[in-house]
């Protein structure tokens, strides 16, 4: 069994493998597939709770991933924001002596989550500094 604690390097190697064999576009196609299939729990959470569904979804996943983050929801302003001080996934890859992070690793969050947010008419922004495993993810209602 590939432990869930070993998944991130295996995931990183899948991006590198696809890119090497079939080019960058094949990696993006895989991210879109994962967004449309695997992330149904995020989709259901937003469908049921609106912007608050983002807070509910990431409250669980980021704690299970032992992330160093700060997360805010302001339903009046229509803003959900995660400030990721140290991404638990990229952070692990950067610390590894034997794994080379996929150059566009951070883009997978953009592709996975943007599709879902925008399908609900929400605005999505992701800015990141891959060298520091730092990012800010913001999802807004359009009247923000």
């Amino acid at each position: 069994m590939i432990s869930c604690t070993e998944f991130i390097p295996a995931y990183n190697e899948l991006f590198r493998f696809l890119h090497h064999c079939y080019g960058k576009e094949s990696v993006v196609e895989f991210w879109h597939h994962l967004s449309d299939t695997f992330l149904d729990n995020l989709r259901r959470s937003i469908a049921e709770h609106g912007l608050k569904g983002c807070f509910i979804y990431w409250s669980r996943t980021l704690q299970e991933e032992a992330a160093d983050f700060s997360m805010d929801l302001d339903e009046k302003k229509g803003v959900f924001r995660i400030i990721m001080n140290r991404c638990p996934s990229l952070g692990r890859l950067l610390e590894s002596e034997f794994i080379e992070p996929y150059p566009d690793y951070c883009r997978h969050c953009d592709h996975l989550y943007r599709r879902i947010a925008e399908s609900f008419g929400l605005e999505f922004d992701l800015t990141f500094d891959a060298k520091r495993a730092f990012c800010i993810l913001e999802i807004r209602t359009c009247n923000y």
Binding site: M1, I2, S3, C4, T5, E6, F7, I8, P9, A10, Y11, E13, L14, F17, C21, Y22, F30, H33, L34, T37, F38, N41, K52, F55, S59, T61, L62, Q63, E64, E65, A66, A67, D68, F69, S70, M71, D72, L73, D74, E75, K76, R86, P88, F98, I99
Partner: protein, 155 residues
């Protein structure tokens, strides 16, 4: 609707790193590779994982023998809360998985599951062992969450 403001901080080390939904992501990845590129490409990817992700384990098995693999398997299955027996039988190491924590998580949470999921165990085990001068064999009862994995040094 009642409008609310919520805030949550995470400090990394406060929680155990154990996000079992990642088993679901791996399951989808296997399904995607199978359906888009075919079984042989899925196997090539899993061999690549064996050679890269488990490089330190391969190094340790070369250095300490199958005791290093025993330590690895015990740590992983204990951490994930699997039901298993791990023991030495004559010259080989045997892992009897009675309740696979990955398959249990997928089924309990209605995440996608395919019998092809266990291919990841079979191919990765074979790759790690081939790279470290050992042999691996796995008998799986598909979908049951049970398997018997056997490891021995090549003579």
């Amino acid at each position: 609707m009642k409008e609310v403001t919520q805030h949550l901080d995470g400090k990394g080390g406060e929680h155990l790193y154990l996000h079992k939904d990642f088993h679901g992501a791996l399951c989808y990845a296997i399904k995607y590779l199978d359906e888009t590129y075919g079984y042989e490409i899925t196997h090539a990817y899993l061999r690549h994982v064996g050679e890269t992700v488990y490089k330190p384990l391969i190094f340790e098995i070369k250095r300490r023998g199958l005791k290093a693999l025993e330590d690895h398997l015990r740590r992983v299955f204990t951490l994930e809360g699997g039901e298993f027996e791990l023991y030495w039988k004559e010259d080989h190491l045997q892992l009897e998985v009675k309740r696979c924590p990955a398959i249990e998580h997928l089924k309990r949470n209605n995440l996608y599951y395919t019998d092809r999921f266990c291919t990841s165990t079979i191919v990765v085990n074979e790759t790690i062992c081939r790279q470290s001068g050992c042999q691996a064999h796995c008998d799986v009862v598909p979908g049951s969450g049970r398997c018997v994995q056997t490891f021995r040094r090549m003579t």
